[in-house]
Every structure is written in structure tokens, then in C-alpha cells.
Subunit: 329 residues, 2 copies
DNA sequence: GCTATAAATGAAAGCGCTTACATCATAGGC
DNA sequence: GCCTATGATGTAAGCGCTTTCATTTATAGC
């Protein structure tokens, strides 16, 4: 690959001038710009971004840490973020944290050493302290789906509690009173918040929560199956089920089919997230919409504004969930 | 962040020695190694990988181009590849090609300028010539799900034709004779190959293909819905439907529900890919398994062997699809 | 036509690291 | 104890670019 030096020689100008036409930082005379551009084209030159990054201490790349690369949720998030940045010539480096504190730390440090200009983090396991320290280093980053009050300006979140509230409220409005709940792992912030929302919806109807109708799952499909099986095995009556995400709801629906429970007649089921295939289930799943795409977009715009000084005015930081009624309730 | 220079000063050795303990290229005396490691720890030093990359012309990062970041298919692929590399301290940089030749070229060039040690490509739109030229540059890369004979040693593929054959053969064995087909965009290699497989299955049963039972979709869910609607509107009789991927099959199932067609009694449906939620459909979808995870793993191992000289013996390059029978046929 | 000023360009240092090559220390053979 | 072979360490030259500062060239004012 040709270097900037060869280009400058061919165009009969200095390195510095070539660099200027590449970066458009300082005006260059029209005629020399044309010469340089011609030389670049003839040599098929492309700047070596590693060298650029080293010299300028700016990499034009944004690091992203998510729990998993697979799955509908992260896929859409990543996709949206990549799109936003690509449109302005920035690029993303992605690492998976696998909901494990050590891996999350590892990923973050790797991205740092990679000279990322900013980070977008969806991390669940590192503690608040770590994130506070990270903020103190001056590295710009935005935190998705997690609120750490001391660094609130870094956080973009969904109101999970309200989402949990909406889900249960919907069932209550339909007349259900015996409502089971399959939660995500409660050490995860969002799982806990959703559950809190569920509880306060019950409270607002003056219903006392029956702890035996609670099951702590793993946010996976199998967790939903096991959860419903467990709840049914207890022999307690319930007519509706809230699942803290759609995957578990899909699992629960499978288990319900197996138990010959008609949905929604004998058991109403509601999910959470509105992942892109939540309507593949039968019956189509009622759920709470998690505006992943918007949140991804907002995270990208946060970075564009704060790090690259793009003129962006509205940065939303707390998103509202929304009830999507389909056929399962 | 501390630099290697500060470490060397603190440890009372030269830059070069520090570099040696980092890279373990040349033996260093035990006692000095310990001094250096202590200094690194005390300073919280982490090598700047951008500088490493520039100096060594080696980045320890692998570029990946896929069509989309979202979606179950690519998610799993990426996830597996990332896993493999992370385990050996390499990292991935991901770009989306969006099935568009210009974006695909763009992404590849970006990854090149990023000093990637190797590329893993799932590209559909650039032509064979471009890939041949790319191979000629000496940049190591592996091509997933596409066979370009002149650079066969770069290709890892699924036998799509056989998959298409298996799908249709399955329906034929069940006694179906009037079999409709919803294809992917035929300019895509895999779509074309799957269709060819379908045709040869028909031929092997001595059945002449009825072109009116063919619909060219877009590999998306809506394409499946529209496809089935179109086929039904024609008024021609058919008892089975092959869809060239699961998304379209899910769409077709939705359309079938709407048309009050019982599956599989009135219409048998088979998909292709076995994406992770193909069993969410109702009834659960019979499909052809695309071993994404294995292929991703193999691509990673190709790179480890060829680029990083890891001792890996078995590199499989042609994968066999497999019929997964569920409830929709 | 000459100077004062602004605009365009060039020279060169340095970003943090790797890596030939040179140098130094140590140990073994006599 | 001296010489050589070998291993450990240091020196310094880049990797391809950006950026400061100095220099040159063009523009304008008189």
C-alpha cells in the first residue's frame, strides 16, 4: 500500500500538504489539492488509519461492549449504532462481555488500549465503582440500560420499572388477580427494576403479592419453560403470567402448549422487550416495547455530540416503554 | 496512560527489554523480568496496541464483514468467531456490508487500512473478480458461504444445493407432488443454489417444475407473506411449500394462518437455516440446518492456522446441511 | 515598486512501540 | 587467568502519519 510519502513525491508537494488535503484542516490551494488528489487516485492510496491514530491520538473508532453478539436484542442495538457512525465515517469495534465482570473489564481495557475515541457500554456485572473510576479517567463513554446516579450524565436508560408496571397493570385491567411472575436474574439491574414495577402495580390495586407465584429465571427461553413448569407444579391457581423478557415468555408459551393450557383463555402471557420475533409465537405475544433502535441511535448521537462536537441538540436519556397488545392476553 | 518508556525507567532497564518481557520473543533474565513486571503493575501500564500495530505491522485484530449485524444468523456467526479469537487474545473489528457492493468494498478497505491481520468475509454483492484481486494483494481472508473456484482455498461453504435438494426431497417422500417454492433473490449465490437443489429433487422424482408455483422473495419475513399470498391468489393447487429461509417460512406461516390453512394438514411448510427461533413458530418449523456456529468456528480456525501459525490440523471447507423435522410438514 | 500582512507550504519533531544490530556480561575451556 | 562462545541487554532507526513552527509566496495598500 502506498504511503503518504509516495503521494507527496508524485504530487510534488510535502508530506504536510498531503496530510492537509486528507484532513481538510487547513485550506489548501485549489490547484495543489487537485494535484494531490490525482496522485492519491493514481496510487490507489488510502491513509493508514493506525498511523493516523497514533499520531493524532484520535482513532475515529468507537468501542462497544455488549453482553452477547448474538440474539435479537443486541443485534439490533449494534446494527443501529454501526449505521449511525458509518454515516459519518466513524467505525465500531465490538467486544462481548458475556455478563461476566472480568470479561467486561477486559473488554473495556482492550478497547481503551485500542485508542477508541469513546465507548458505548452495555455492561451488567462490573460494579458502579468501576464505572465511576472509568469516568474519572476522562474517557468518554455512555452507559446503556443502567443508571449510576453519580455519573448520570453518562447514562441512557429505559424506565424498566414503569415497563414492569405497565405489563402487570395491563393484566390487572383485564381482570386478572392471580398473576404469576417469571423474573430475570435479580442481580441484574433491569430485572430487579422490572420486578419492582410489577410489585407496585399489584400494590396500586391493593393486591398483596403471593411470593409462591414468583420464579427467578435466567432471561433465556429454557428459563421460561422451567419457570412455568415450576409454577404449575405448585398447584396454585393463577390466570396470568408476566415474563421479564420475551425469550422467557416464548419458553413459557411452549410449556403452556405442552400443559394444554389455552392462551390467553386459560393463561394470559405478557413479555417484555418486543424483540423482533415476538410475533412469531403462537398466539402472538403481547409485550412491552423496548425501543432498542432509538436507544442505540441516541447513544451514537451522544458520542457524536460530546466527542466529535457535532451540532446535536436533543439528547434524550430516559426512554419510556410502551405496551404492545397482541393476542396472548 | 503510562508509556513503555516510563516503565523502563522505573524498572531501570531499556525500552527494548520491556518490550521483550511484553512479547516474550527473546528470553529475559528472571530477575529483570520480575522487576519489569513489577514496574508495569505499579504504573498500571497497558501497551498501546495502536503503536504496537504500527511498529510491528501486526494488529492482532481480525476484520469481519457481514451483511447485517442484526438477525439471528449473523449474530450467532459473529458470536462464535469472537469467542474463538478472544480465547487467544485476538480481537475482531466488525463492519456491515448491507448486501451492497459499494458498502462491502468500503468495509473491506476500511478493515485493510485498519491493519487487520486477516479478514473473514460474508459478502454477497462484490463480484468474483474483486475477490480474486483481493487475494492477489496477499491479504489473508476467508470467504464464508460462497464458492469462488479460482480462490477455492479461501472458501468455506455450506452445500446449499444439497440443502435445497433435501428440503424438497423430504416433501416428496411425504407424498407431496404439487410443491410451491419461495426463493431468495436469485442474484444471491445461496438463493440460486438452493433453488437448483429444489429443481433437481423434483427431477429425480420425474416431476416437471411448474413455474407458476415459483416466487422470488427477499429472504425477509414479509417476502414470505407476500409470496404465499401471491401463490394462493393464482388459484393453482399445491400442498407443500419450500421457503429458501426460515424468515420467509415464518412469514408464509402467518399468511397461511390468515388464509385459514391448517399446517401441515392442508399445507406443509419447510424452511432453511434453522435459525434459533425457528421453533417459535406454530407449528414448529421443519427446516434444513445451517451449521452457522461450526462454520464460524472453522473460519476462525482457518485464520489461526494460516495467519498465526497455530497448529490446527483439520480444516473443513464444505459443510453438509441436515434435515430437521418438526411439526410443519 | 516597495513594504506590511495574510495565506499556503515545507521542515522536522514526535506519537509509543518493535526490532535489527551493537555491546556487554557471564561462563566454560584451556 | 585469558580467550572465546553464548546469552542478556542497550542503542537507535524506523512504522506512517499529524502538527507546530518557520519559511515562502501571494495580496493589498500606499
Amino acid at each position: 500500500m502506498a504511503t503518504i510519502y509516495e503521494v507527496s513525491e508524485r504530487a510534488g508537494v510535502s508530506l504536510a500538504t498531503v496530510s492537509r488535503v486528507i484532513n481538510k484542516t487547513v485550506p489548501v490551494r485549489e490547484s495543489t489539492r487537485i494535484k494531490v488528489e490525482a496522485a492519491m487516485r493514481e496510487l490507489g492510496y488510502r491513509p493508514n488509519s493506525v498511523a493516523q491514530s497514533l499520531a493524532s491520538n484520535r482513532s475515529n473508532s468507537i468501542g462497544i461492549v455488549v453482553s452477547e453478539l448474538g440474539g435479537p436484542f443486541y443485534g439490533e442495538l449494534l446494527s443501529r449504532i454501526e449505521n449511525e457512525f458509518r454515516a459519518v465515517g466513524k467505525h465500531v469495534i465490538i467486544a462481548a462481555g458475556h455478563s461476566n465482570a472480568e470479561l467486561e473489564r477486559d473488554s473495556i481495557e482492550f478497547l481503551q488500549s485500542r485508542n477508541c475515541d469513546a465507548l458505548i457500554l452495555h455492561v451488567e456485572s462490573v460494579d458502579d465503582k468501576y464505572l465511576e473510576d472509568l469516568a474519572a479517567t476522562g474517557l468518554p463513554f455512555v452507559l446503556i440500560n443502567r443508571m449510576v446516579p453519580s455519573i448520570a450524565e453518562h447514562c441512557i436508560t429505559l424506565d424498566n420499572e414503569q415497563g414492569g408496571f405497565l405489563a402487570t397493570e395491563h393484566l390487572l385491567q383485564l381482570g386478572h388477580r392471580d398473576i404469576a411472575y417469571i423474573s430475570g436474574p435479580l442481580w441484574k439491574h433491569d430485572a430487579e427494576e422490572r420486578y419492582t414495577g410489577h410489585q407496585s402495580a399489584l400494590a396500586s390495586y391493593g393486591i398483596e403479592e403471593d411470593k409462591t407465584l414468583f420464579y427467578e429465571g435466567d432471561f433465556q427461553e429454557t428459563g421460561g419453560e422451567q419457570g412455568l413448569a415450576h409454577l404449575l407444579a405448585q398447584g396454585k391457581k393463577f390466570t396470568a403470567l408476566v415474563c421479564a423478557n420475551d425469550e422467557m415468555a416464548a419458553g413459557a408459551i411452549t410449556a403452556a402448549h405442552e400443559a394444554d393450557l389455552a392462551i390467553p383463555e386459560q393463561l394470559a402471557v405478557i413479555g417484555f422487550d418486543n424483540i423482533n420475533f415476538s410475533h412469531y409465537t403462537y398466539p402472538k405475544l403481547t409485550t412491552i416495547d423496548y425501543p432498542v433502535a432509538e436507544i442505540g441511535e441516541m447513544a451514537a448521537r451522544w458520542v457524536l455530540k460530546r466527542v466529535y462536537q457535532r451540532p446535536i441538540d436533543d439528547l434524550e436519556v430516559l426512554f419510556a416503554p410502551q405496551l404492545i397488545v397482541r393476542d396472548s392476553t
